[in-house]
């Protein structure tokens, strides 16, 4: 069986959608089809990919308008006569074809104050219990595919990249703030620099997460609550004034 694809080809200056036809094999995913197009029709078609098993998060693209991993999108998800349109992530500048410049994300990560562990209790091993680590292990499943960044209204439609680090880095912040061993305080930065207030909880990021991380409910909302407790709770406000904030 053959399927029709429409793929965006071009660079930062100009581009257009082009049609390709691919012969399908059982179990094929969209990335396989892109690879067939590379071999048979367009040797120079640019696409990022690595593991082809949903573990590295390299092959994020927009398939029929939805941010997805090309390696985990099976062809049998589509109706038999559906044309499949593949285009690059809209939120980031195009380099070429399906490849975008995601370096902005790496810059955000660098701004986050690093993990700062407490001393080891017995001098040799850190002790952390299962119930204490399970919460942040969910956040640490993130494969940095940036689909959540792509779909986030603040970054995608409002283009406020200077005001909000985006869902990926909110959950990275959550994984640090809720780390049982960490003793850094990032709450003021989460409010002022990383823009926790910008998120209006539409949960679009959670919807597209291929790792099914509850980004909004388990990550962003608890961080927002911590910010509120620190800066807006009248009792805490007085307490902080008197005792100089969290020790």
């Amino acid at each position: 069986m053959e399927r029709n694809f429409i793929i965006w080809r071009g660079n930062s200056k100009k581009g257009e959608f082009k049609n390709y036809t691919v012969k399908l094999e059982p179990g094929m995913v969209v990335l396989d089809a892109i690879h067939r197009i590379q071999v048979e029709h367009a040797n120079d078609l640019a696409v990022r990919w690595n593991c082809k098993a949903g573990k590295c998060g390299s092959c994020g693209v927009e398939i029929n308008g939805r941010p997805k991993l090309a390696c985990m999108t099976r062809m049998n998800e589509f109706t038999p006569d559906e044309v499949i349109t593949v285009q690059p992530l809209k939120t980031f500048p195009v380099i070429k074809d399906l490849v975008t410049d995601v370096s902005w994300n790496y810059e955000q990560n660098k701004m986050i104050p690093p993990f700062k562990p407490r001393e080891k209790k017995n001098g040799k091993d850190h002790v952390m219990y299962r119930r204490d680590v399970e919460r942040i292990q969910e956040f640490r499943k993130c494969i940095e595919c940036y689909l959540c960044q792509d779909v986030c209204h603040v970054l995608r439609d409002q283009d406020k990249k200077e005001k909000f680090v985006g869902p990926r880095f909110m959950i990275r912040l959550a994984s640090l703030e809720m780390h049982p061993l960490d003793r850094e305080d990032r709450i003021p930065k989460i409010k002022n620099e990383f823009g926790s207030g910008m998120c209006n909880i539409t949960r679009c990021c959670t919807d597209v997460c291929p790792e099914h991380i509850q980004i909004t409910d388990n990550g962003i909302i608890p961080l927002k609550e911590r910010v509120v407790d620190r800066f807006y709770d009248p009792v805490m406000w007085v307490f902080n004034k008197l005792f100089g904030g969290r020790s």
Binding site: V29, N43, N50, K52, A53, K124, V133
Partner: protein, 610 residues
């Protein structure tokens, strides 16, 4: 041409490759105060380390206090069929626990024991539960921890930058020419030392767990610069890769499935691994299903199930069952954990396997068995290095991780790769720092050498016509898959070598359309020159090792031969082409031999010194 118009970046050390070994090496270099750069073919955090599933081996003794570096060392040597570099296996077993604890100090969150310590799981060939892990996504945890730590260490990370070739000044390394994927422009790194951490060359085979990046770049670059390769005949076929659907054939199914109780069955429902227990392991392996079940339930007196024999043994057993007509519908074996463990346990301990099968094969592994078969997974062989400094025979050139050879001998144990990356990544950083401290005088990169490398790369774009690089690559994969596979014969290897020689003419004529900017066709064409070196090295080494040992099985030379332990095969470049020769192994230090050949009782009682 004058390279003054080419971008030039200077570092004391350049690390090539940003997987676990590369990043760990870079961290060590930065820690020693060196100006450090790291280049990677992909984005940071996407290297193959991210795919490692089961865990990292270290004798922390958190789950079974009988464990120690000596038992880990003994397991590693036995798994490697005693062909490992003794000193490397010793350093690895001794230093792995510190490297794991250090990761925790940098923010890694491993699964915990009831007492709140790092939990450890069973794995093939490891006597005790030894693998620190995070479900079945340990590699992701490790690479993310290293990545997030390294960005605060003052290391320059150059992403999507591929190395083409090394530049030498006399006999010393003085630089590397590479290109940026994004623009296709060239860059010269002028350095005092270079650490290769480029991984293996799994992409030379058709059925592999490796991604596009693993084209033997470090092996090719080192070889062309005059460095030696060692043990190249030992390529590990992981017993459990996916076999269906075709588009995912080869993708890894973690050994953790078996470590957590999964069993292998043939089409007749027989648990066939009981029929394949090698003599050497018979005394430590369960011989009845009842005993294997007791072991799974935590009976410390019970012996291990045969599914946890080393990877070479399990991979060959699956192949034999398929050949005997007892394979699964798609030519593999059944791997069943559904009937062994409750669904909740499976989802908790093996979440990414659950998703991988559900989403790619539409199989619920908590209800049905998986179909699995061997897939090319790992290179035991690689660049020959000094066991302590990781320096090659080319001054200033270092190698660590999968692209370095010697640590794993004839077969690697699962979990020993992640620990290898960290232990030898750190040591390579130390080695490079010591080398740079002792270096006197200025190093130069000659115009002539730099221009030659660039011209060779641009020729591919400047041809009027030529071979399709993707099809040439497919041809190379077919040759290795057919002639240099899991079981080998002299006749087939010789045929394979002939075919590879013919393919060289096609590689010389590959042609890439369009511009150099983010052009996968051109990138593929450039990788071919490393793939062919890798493929030829494996084939030549396999041809002259006339015995079966570990991952290298010769149907025409069955079993291990005593003299097989007296040499390693070393590959190097000569004027007449590639040479492969047997190089005599030194006798092991007595104290290490005593540990490796000791009985478990002796070790557990700790009656041995050292």
């Amino acid at each position: 041409m004058d390279y003054s118009d080419i971008q030039t970046i200077e570092h004391d050390v350049l690390v090539v490759g940003a997987g676990g070994a590369g990043i760990r090496a870079a961290i060590e270099c930065a820690e020693k105060g060196l100006s450090t750069g790291i280049i990677s073919k992909s984005l940071l955090g996407k290297a193959h380390t991210v795919m490692a599933e089961g865990g990292i081996a270290a004798s922390l003794g958190n789950v079974d206090s009988r464990d120690s570096w000596k038992v880990h060392f003994r397991d590693t040597m036995r798994g490697g069929k005693f062909l490992n570099q003794w000193r490397m296996a010793e350093l690895h077993a001794k230093q792995a626990p510190d490297r794991v604890r250090e990761l925790e100090e940098w923010g890694a969150v491993f699964d915990r024991t009831d007492k709140g310590l790092i939990n450890q799981r069973n794995f093939g060939g490891h006597r005790y539960p030894r693998l620190a892990h995070v479900g079945d996504r340990t590699g992701l945890e490790i690479i993310r921890t290293l990545q997030d730590f390294c960005v605060h260490q003052g290391i320059s990370t150059h992403m999507e930058c591929t190395g083409l070739d090394l530049v030498l000044d006399g006999d010393k390394v003085s630089g590397l020419v590479g290109y940026w994927r994004e623009t296709g422009r060239f860059v010269l790194f002028k350095t005092k030392a270079i650490i290769l951490a480029t991984g293996g060359g799994g992409k030379a085979w058709k059925v592999t767990s490796n991604s596009w990046e693993y084209t033997g770049d470090g092996l090719g670059m080192a070889y062309r610069a005059g460095a030696e390769l060692i043990d190249m005949e030992f390529t590990q076929f992981h017993p459990t890769g996916m076999v269906w659907p075709p588009s995912v054939k080869g993708i890894l199914v973690t050994e953790g499935v078996r470590g957590d109780g999964g069993i292998l069955l043939n089409s007749e429902g027989e648990r066939f691994m009981f029929n394949y227990i090698p003599k050497k392991f018979a005394s430590e392996t369960a011989d009845t299903e009842a005993e294997a079940s007791r072991w799974l339930d935590g009976d410390r007196e019970a012996r291990r199930p045969p599914e946890l024999l080393t990877r070479d043994v399990v991979a060959r057993a699956i192949k034999k069952e398929v050949e005997a007509g007892r394979g699964s519908p798609n030519g593999g074996a059944f791997l069943d954990i559904a009937s062994r463990r409750p669904a909740e346990f499976i989802k908790k301990k093996l979440p990414s396997m659950y998703h991988q099968f559900k989403e790619l094969a539409e199989i619920d592994i908590t209800e049905k068995p998986m179909e699995v078969g061997p897939t090319l997974h790992y290179f035991m062989g690689g660049i020959r290095v000094n066991s302590d400094s990781q320096q090659t025979n080319v001054p200033g050139l270092f190698a660590c991780g999968e692209c370095a050879g010697g640590m794993h001998g004839a077969n690697r144990l699962g979990g020993n790769s992640l620990s290898d990356l960290l232990v030898f990544g750190k040591l390579a950083g130390d080695g490079a720092a010591n080398y740079i401290n002792s270096l006197t005088g200025q190093l130069n990169c000659s115009n002539e050498e730099v221009s030659k490398i660039i011209k060779e790369a641009t020729d591919i774009l400047n041809r009027e016509e030529g071979k399709n690089p993707y099809l040439v690559h497919e041809e190379l994969q077919n040759i290795l898959q057919s002639y240099v596979s899991i079981v080998r014969t002299g006749e087939e290897l010789a045929l394979g070598l002939d075919e590879l020689q013919k393919l060289k003419a096609d590689i010389a004529e590959v042609f890439a359309h369009a511009s150099a900017q983010y052009n996968p066709g051109w990138n593929e064409a450039l990788d071919l020159k490393n793939l062919i070196v890798t493929a030829e090295a494996v084939t030549r080494a396999a041809l002259i090792r006339e015995e079966s040992r570990g991952a290298h099985t010769r149907l025409d030379f069955e079993g291990e031969h005593d003299d097989g332990l007296k040499y390693n095969i070393v590959i190097k470049k000569t004027e007449s082409g590639m040479s492969a020769e047997k190089v005599r192994r030194e006798d092991p230090p007595v104290e290490l031999a005593d540990i490796a050949y000791a009985s478990l009782e002796e070790l557990e009682g700790d009656n041995l010194g050292a």
